[in-house]
Amino acid sequence: MILKSIALSIVISMMFISPLKVTASEQASGEGESFNPGTLIMHHIQDDYIWHFWDGHYGTLYLPVILYSDDRGLEVFSSSNFYNEDHELVPYNGYEIDHGKIHRVDSEVKVWDFSITKNVAFLFLTMAVMLIVFISVARGYKKRPGKSPKGIQSLFEPIIIFIRDEIVKKGIGEKKYEKYLPYMLTLFFFIWFGNLLGLLPGAANLTGNIAVTMTLAVGTFLLTNFSGNKHYWNHIFNTPGVPYPIRYTVIIVVEFLGIFTKPISLMIRLFVAITAGHIVILSIIGLTFIFQSAAVGIGATILTIFINLIELLVATIQAYVFTLFSSMYIGMAVEEHDDH
């Protein structure tokens, strides 16, 4: 029984890893150039105008490009226009893709890019999965109020209770936590779902995109500073218990910078943890194609399975840490304290 489940989990992990390997081998042999792991990895962790699953006729999803520029107005077209039959980049309609960004070919007019890129499409997918899961969970509570959970509800109830009791209640405090609970639950589940779905083969690097993590961090930043009470601001601009000369020269600068460094650390922590996880996995797979040997391939596969399992842990811990620190920052801002 145990052996069977181990074998099954290895097979499943293999399924998860194999598409990456196929891409790597095609990159290595198909174009006749020497294999460059750097470009392969960059291609996997960066955003793109197409969603590439496998080579061949139906392997690529061409996503819509939406552009706005002052003189030409709004333009919407498919990103397949930027590729010729050999899958090389070509200019189209006065636009060209250069270093992953769309520019005007012969003028300096600023182009506003609202395209549905790979990450945006993946964001919609994550959103859809979350809506399906949590609407059904919420419906369960509505249908059977006060009764024991059923189906998918029983999977999520312990997690929701854990976040409420162990993270939000402890971070923000018994009195005021309820107002912030919906935001914290959304934050946790969005990061968690994004991390886990991002580990699937062919998936985009959603939570490893610094713009996405910045949006989340800005949410926490605004919530912290708009809910900050008198004591919070007093602590920043008039820190009690510090001699006056130091208070108005050193401490005020440090505390003021602290307002911004806290969300920035949230942003960078999540971005780096997820991106580096992808880099490490792809680098180890890349070793096989650098050494071109089967023995290294077997070793790399085993190591990749191991790292993939660690990534499952990291995905959860990063969601936990982001929520924990967000609620601690908000807790600091709303805390009612006596003079110390």
């Binding site: 990291v314 811990i317 840490v321």
Partner: protein
């Protein structure tokens, strides 16, 4: 000749050295957490579960610091 090769690949050398140093730092950090967690568990076996959870979380935080290094070294190496 040797100097020329060195000068051209100095960035790569820096990235490789950086990756090594990051591994040293993360090793020291995780080692210290591990040693004190083991000690705490041996002193108070009934608190082993809580110690382990806290240990994992702090280890993840240190791991992220070492991953900062990985990302920076990767960017240097591919730039």
């Amino acid at each position: 000749m040797l100097l020329q090769i060195l000068a051209e690949n100095l960035g790569l050398l820096g990235a490789a050295l950086g990756a090594g140093l990051v591994a040293v730092g993360a090793g020291v950090g995780i080692g210290k957490i591990g040693s004190s967690a083991m000690e705490a568990m041996a002193r108070q076996p009934e608190a082993a579960g809580r110690v382990q959870t806290a240990m994992l979380i702090i280890a993840a935080l240190i791991e992220v610091v070492s991953l900062f290094g990985v990302v920076v070294c990767f960017i240097i190496a591919t730039a």
